[in-house]
């Protein structure tokens, strides 16, 4: 999944449009419940099943897309 695809997931789950490659999921209103929905969307799109701590560790579309690429 590239940065744009991950950004699109953030937008959908957070229901806000102002997301770029450096937007921090938790700063933009994300919580643990919404985090699981990001991770399930990532799994559906890429087949990569990440854990909650992965998103804590890589909370931006930029960082998360790298993590997905690394795990794939």
């Amino acid at each position: 999944m590239n940065v744009d695809a991950v950004s699109a997931v953030f937008r959908e789950v957070l229901e806000i449009s102002e997301i770029n490659a450096d937007s921090d999921f938790f700063v933009m209103g994300g919580d643990s419940l919404l985090a699981t929905r990001v991770l399930s969307a990532v799994a559906r799109a890429s087949g990569v099943e990440l854990e909650f701590d992965d998103l804590l560790d890589a909370p931006t579309p930029g960082a998360l897309s790298k993590k997905i690429a690394g795990a794939a």
Partner: protein
């Protein structure tokens, strides 16, 4: 004008107080020897009260917060910092925060599925939801078996629904679940402590709401008088109790739907308030009392979630400003039915043993209290009635429609915050306005 109010829970007493304020004469007939209905206080130490029934509220509960201010009651935060304990796939596990140690992808799958149906429902009139017949015709259990692929999602859904609505997935329709979640403010709001529906408790106990409302009504409230029948004629309504008859120009029935149908209505209402598949929510609340909230000193919040009962979750409910530490255990859904059927000694033994497995560092509790809502003849559903398959289509259209001079209230008549204290209070305001409007020339 005299109005007879049936039931001295939050809905009935709110309606009664408002009608009195608008100049009506009111008689409240309550079956039990106490007011409060599904709110009830339990004194665990001198002056230290916990909630055996309803407990939590959040800032969206605006009618409730207004009532608290009116009655000079305060809230206390329900959130406790610290780590949680989980007994889900493996034995005890400690984790920071409240999120269960299950596959995050699986939980996301479950929340996606819930969000999807929650969005579909029309909250003000769920029976008019597009596709209502299909959603109302299938149980949550069947829907989950088709929709949820991940084992962890299937494991967690019943626990989540137990916590949220004391529901057994086999007994409740998808439409009702979706409606309930939407009505309460959505999954995120309902699930959250901080910033959500469990932000606060009422300092000193939620039972004080009804006690103070009743004190203001004085002798208008009559305890130990179940209404057996309501007879209507052109001029008014006569309520029949074991002690006699009370006449009013109108009556408000502020009791759960199954109990509203148990009253002998003459003439009978055009549609029933419940059906054979209208289920009771099933909850048993257990209170384990300790000398102090010992877990806090160990970095624990007291919050736990277990896949096996009886205590499916525990939470720190220690009275604010008191000394005692109280862990409340929730037994809900099908587990509540099984647990409620055990003898008292077995109930205590199981709960204490489970607490010891979850929190091996704690001494045994100094006291144990159990409140069985499953067998309460005058509640029949706790937290609230659960609409089964087909119910919304049959019952929805008549939810608030008066039957002549008989008007309906109670949390199950409120499409806003259905099943909660907030819904009960809003229904009381709605019914008082309805009667006042009818009587305005």
């Amino acid at each position: 004008m005299n109005v007879v109010v049936v039931g001295a829970g939050l809905a009935g007493l709110t309606a009664a107080a408002e009608l009195v304020a608008r100049g009506a004469e009111v008689t409240v007939l309550e079956a039990r020897e106490r007011v409060g209905g599904r709110t009830r206080g339990l004194e665990v130490e001198p002056g230290g009260w916990v909630d055996a029934g309803a407990a939590y509220l959040g800032e969206r509960h605006t009618a409730l917060t207004a009532l608290l201010a009116e009655l000079d009651l305060k809230t206390t935060p329900a959130t406790v910092a610290g780590a949680s304990r989980f007994a889900l796939r493996d034995a005890g596990r400690t984790r920071p925060g409240r999120f269960p140690p299950l596959s995050a992808v699986a939980l996301g799958e479950m929340f996606d599925a819930l969000e999807e149906v929650t969005r579909l429902v029309r909250p003000d009139a769920p029976w008019l939801t597009e596709d209502a017949a299909r959603l109302d015709g299938v149980t949550v259990e069947r829907w989950a078996a088709e929709r949820l692929r991940h084992p962890d999602a299937r494991l967690f859904l019943p626990l989540f629904l137990g916590e949220m609505m004391a529901a057994d997935p086999a007994r409740v329709s998808v439409l009702h679940m979706a409606f309930y979640l939407r009505s309460g403010g959505g999954i995120r709001y309902l699930n959250a402590f901080e910033g959500g529906a469990q932000e606060w408790r009422i300092a000193g106990g939620a039972h004080q709401l009804c006690e103070r409302l009743a004190a203001g009504l004085g002798e208008r409230v009559r305890l130990g008088e179940p209404v057996l029948a309501l007879h209507q004629d052109a001029g008014g309504v006569t309520a029949v109790t074991p002690r006699g008859r009370v006449r009013g120009a109108h009556a408000v029935v502020a009791v759960p739907p199954v109990l509203a149908d148990a009253i002998d209505h003459r003439p009978g209402p055009p549609a029933p308030r419940s059906t054979p598949v209208t289920g009771p929510g099933c909850a048993v609340k257990v209170h384990l009392v300790y000398p102090s909230p010992l877990w806090r000193g160990l970095g624990l919040s007291g919050w736990s979630v277990s896949a096996e009962g009886p205590l499916l979750s525990t939470v720190d409910d220690s009275p604010a400003g008191g000394r005692a530490g109280v862990l409340t255990g929730f037994v809900t859904g099908a587990e509540a039915v099984r647990y409620a059927a055990l003898p008292a000694s077995g109930q205590r033994e199981l709960a204490v043993a489970q607490a010891a497995r979850l929190f091996p560092e704690l001494p045994p509790p100094t006291a144990f209290h159990l409140t069985d809502w499953v067998h309460e003849p005058y509640s029949r559903g706790c937290y609230a009635a659960l609409f089964g398959p087909g119910d919304w289509l049959r019952l929805g259209p008549g939810l608030t429609a008066p039957h002549g001079r008989v008007h309906w209230a109670g949390t199950e008549t409120s499409t806003e915050f259905f099943g909660l204290m907030e819904g009960a209070i809003r229904s009381g305001h709605r019914v008082a306005a309805e009667i006042t409007w009818r009587e305005t020339p």
